[in-house]
Amino acid sequence: MNPTWPQYPLIVPNAGSFLFRGDKVGCLLVHGYTSSAEEMLPLGEFLAKQGYPVLGIRLAGHGTHPVDLSRVRYVDWLNSIRDGHFLLKGMVDKVVLIGQSLGAMLLLICTPEISPAATIAISTPYIKFTLGRKIVNRFTSTFFPLVPKWHLRKKKINDIRREGNYPAYPLVATRSILELEKVQGSLENTLGDIRTPILLIQSHKDLTEESLAEITTRLTNTKYESIWHEKLDHSLVLDNQRQLVFDEINQYIRKIAKKGGVS
């Protein structure tokens, strides 16, 4: 064990859960895979300024050390979201769920259980795990527990807890990819149970229309809207042009709130 460990705070600065008060419909924000609550912080601050109570949750295993991510299972992620929902319920009755990438997948899974005013899924992947890929995943998770992210493979990793100026681990804990497989399976099973409105926001640079269609064709019991951007990166909420996305989210929540009769 590293003699200087543990270093307090254990959670990387800003990467932890955040909570802002407000008096309108509540917003639960969930970040993406290997990232941390910091990813959703700019959106959270924007929404709080509009008067919404905001809670950005840190998913279990994120924002501390990549090794922690290899230990968590996908039910821990779902429980993190449930935590956030119950805490937010202390302030408001109605909530809107807003998730990015893995966060969006997890929120869609939780949507039938929470029955929110709406779910906003940003950059939601629909990952096809083929048999070959599943075998490779099991191989790497057994023999290579931590693998540098592909775009960082040639760079020297200075801080194992944070990827330079992007709020995420520079490495992937390969065991957690097996949990992504389970999330994907669970997502396929739950999409048909969703009865509350859905807004899908994504960028052509990141996702294909076919990938999104996999999701929308399964949303058989609810109405959905989808917004496409052209040049934004996968992490829409951190992109330089994120204000576009923020405004769309704000407008959508207002519309939902008006319709649902909640202020």
Binding site: P6, Y8, P9, L10, I11, G16, S17, F18, L19, F20, R21, L55, R58, A60, T64, D68, R71, V72, R73, V75, D76, L78, N79, R82, D83, F86, L87, L88, K89, G90, M91, I109, E113, S186, N189, T190, D193
Partner: protein, 253 residues
Amino acid sequence: MRESYLLPTAEPFFLPGGKTGVLLIHGFTGTPKEMRWMGEYLNKKGLTVLGVRLFGHASRPEDMLRARWWDWVASLEDGLNMLKGCTSDQSVAGLSMGGILSLIAAAHYPVKCAIAISTPYALPPDPRLKFLKIFQFFYPRVPKGESDFHNKDAEKDHVDYPYFPTRSILQLQALLQEMTRGLASIKIPVLLIQSHADHGIPAESMNRIYEELGTKQKETLWVEDSGHVIVREPEREKAFKATFDFISRCTGK
């Protein structure tokens, strides 16, 4: 599809109030429900209260097997981070393992004061403790001893795990070591509460912690008609009042 869920009524809670925030932390294999009455009392007095759920708790006992002691510290940090966004100062109060975490928070985070209730200084003397690392494979579950509840109604609707996962006891042990390492460096006011009728922790726990605390502002409160879970016992109001008065004094309000 519900493969797992949080135990009903045992979910984490947030009770918005004034600018003074207090984080409530439950005990080992316990749930935020234990702290709820305390939370409601403090909230009625005008505090903002957040009852956090520790990693692996309030769902299924097997979820706890994955927890390492620093996951519980991270849960505590999450709670403090959330309170920071909506209050001007934060205090921590915890029961049993929550008390251990409160003292860790007192040593390492900018909190105003800490209240540790029924907090052990060490695990009860048991010769088997030395062999836990091996025992965990043969005896994955340690049964809970007879309850020491004085309030039988509270005992009926108490929600917790039915046994101690052996592996988690090792983590509790490590957490205790982390607490004792930090005791001398604590500089903020600390209130310790313990019951004479507590069967769960060694009787001298409070005195040992009191002696090792680095702070000069340290107070103790003994209660009589309570078991380990003081916050759900007949004398809870006494502990709640002492907690509220202590927080008010420390935050200067």
